[in-house]
Amino acid sequence: MVEPALIKAAQAGDRDALVSLLREIEHQVYRTAYYLLNHEQDALDAAQEALIRVYTKIGSYEEKAQFRTWVQRIVTNICIDKFRRKRPSVSIDEHELVFHSRDDVEGEVMLAYAAEEIREAIGKLPDHHRTVVVLRYLQDFSYNEIAESLDLPLNTVKSYLYRARQQLQVLLQDFQKGGVRG
């Protein structure tokens, strides 16, 4: 949790405070970018751009919103806008996946999903569903914080999250069966 005093000092023009602020949020910014874009270099670029934007727009942050939801809004916007243009989204059907094939495990105890598989599956989700999942699980945002960050109604947030999880579990079932179903 970032100290309100640090934010105020940064807004008042204390450059050192502003740099300290950036250091405090650096990881959370990168983390979101990484899971949204599924690509390390893109994530580094997006995270840097987000930090610059926080730096230059610190004056526009208003206390009525939580600082971290404001920061996450900036990084999610950058990721959705800029990089969707750069990298066309790959539809679920077209993407070719190589996974270790597993035996059909119907009736047996299912193994936990591998992080790698989950990450890939998240990358298959539509932008807004993906963003909700990342904020929920990588940033531990509540429904309300997600709603504030993405400027969405609460019900929409829930419905995106449920839909996303439903899609993810279907995708992961397919992965575990050794490939993407057409």
Binding site: V19, A47, Q48, I52, T56, V133, L138
Partner: protein, 309 residues
């Protein structure tokens, strides 16, 4: 409970969003429905997997990488923000700036009116008075533009100067021609003329004339007159219209009442080179699109239509 309804309960359960009653409803159904049981298991497992995703960190410090260039980014961001401001914000910003420009042009007119209203013998007194006022003004903004009233052989002339009485540097406001100001006079009189600029006219001890400070209301903006004039402004030959370019947005005012007659926001392209036709039937200008290609266009008046040339 049917499976459809239970699906929602299961999702909410994963978020600890169920009360006791709802939880037992769900458990009851799931106890009897293998499909829903399987779904519950998968979703719980998924949620755990999601919660355990690695908290990745950047391979190097992003802030360290940014530090050498932070000032440069700030300047770039400011430039970009102005160019790409969404049209409603830009409209509000340009509206505010145009409003300020109008106030200052009105005030400029008041000065001229005041000058004409006073006897020639007072001009010298007025001239030196305003220079005194100029010298005593302590303005921090280095882009301030002042108008020093200069009397020479009975004709009043407004000269744009900075706070030291020097002519403004290149790029800042150019003085409107007296003709143009006169045509504004008709439109200006009676409209907002008392926005913090005090004009004393007709007092016996001479003109309480203020050197005009071209001050923008927004603390971050450059001198107001720079906006009104350096961006581009053109009065139609018949004096009926005043075309103003503010940050690439073309606005046409009726000179008579100052009403906005037409507004064209060509973003992301820009407009430049305003030139009125002699018959005042059209305003020619250059439209440059975001790729840098320029075309000649015209605004037909009074139809208020844009046509290509």
């Amino acid at each position: 409970m049917n499976c459809q309804e239970v699906m929602e309960l299961i999702q909410r359960h994963v978020d600890d969003d169920l009360n006791e009653r709802e939880t037992s409803l769900m458990q009851d159904h799931v106890g009897q429905c293998p499909d829903c049981k399987a779904l519950l298991d998968r979703l719980v497992r998924l949620s755990e997997g999601l919660a355990q995703l690695p908290r990745v960190e950047p391979p190097y410090s992003l802030v360290d990488a940014l530090l050498p260039n932070l000032d440069k980014y700030e300047a770039e961001a400011l430039a970009e923000e102005t160019a790409t401001m969404p049209s409603n914000r830009r409209r509000a910003a340009s509206r505010r700036r145009v409003w300020i420009a109008r106030i200052s042009s009105v005030t400029a007119v008041c000065v001229i009116v005041a000058i004409f209203a006073v006897n020639g013998s007072i001009f010298d007194q007025m001239g030196s008075r305003s220079k005194e006022q100029l010298a005593s003004k302590q303005e921090s903004a280095n882009s301030e533009v002042f108008f020093a009233a200069d009397a020479s052989s009975g004709s009043a002339e407004l000269r744009a100067t900075d706070q030291f009485g020097h002519p403004p540097v290149e790029g800042s406001a150019q003085q409107k021609s007296p003709d143009a100001s006169v045509s504004n006079k008709e439109g200006a009189s009676g409209s907002k003329s008392n926005q913090g600029y005090e004009m004393d006219t007709g007092t016996d001890d001479g003109m309480g004339m203020n050197a005009l400070g071209g001050r923008s209301a927004a603390p971050d903006g450059p001198s107001v007159m720079e906006f009104a004039n350096a961006s581009g402004e053109a009065i139609s030959p018949d004096g009926a219209w005043r075309a103003v370019l503010v940050e690439g947005v073309l606005i046409l005012y009726a000179a008579e009442d100052g009403q906005t007659a037409f507004r064209h926001d060509p973003s992301p392209g820009t407009i430049s080179n305003l030139v009125w036709r002699e018959d005042s039937g059209a305003l020619d200008y250059t439209y440059t699109d975001e790729g840098g290609r320029s075309t000649a266009q015209s605004l037909l008046v009074p139809e208020m239509k844009i046509s290509m040339r």
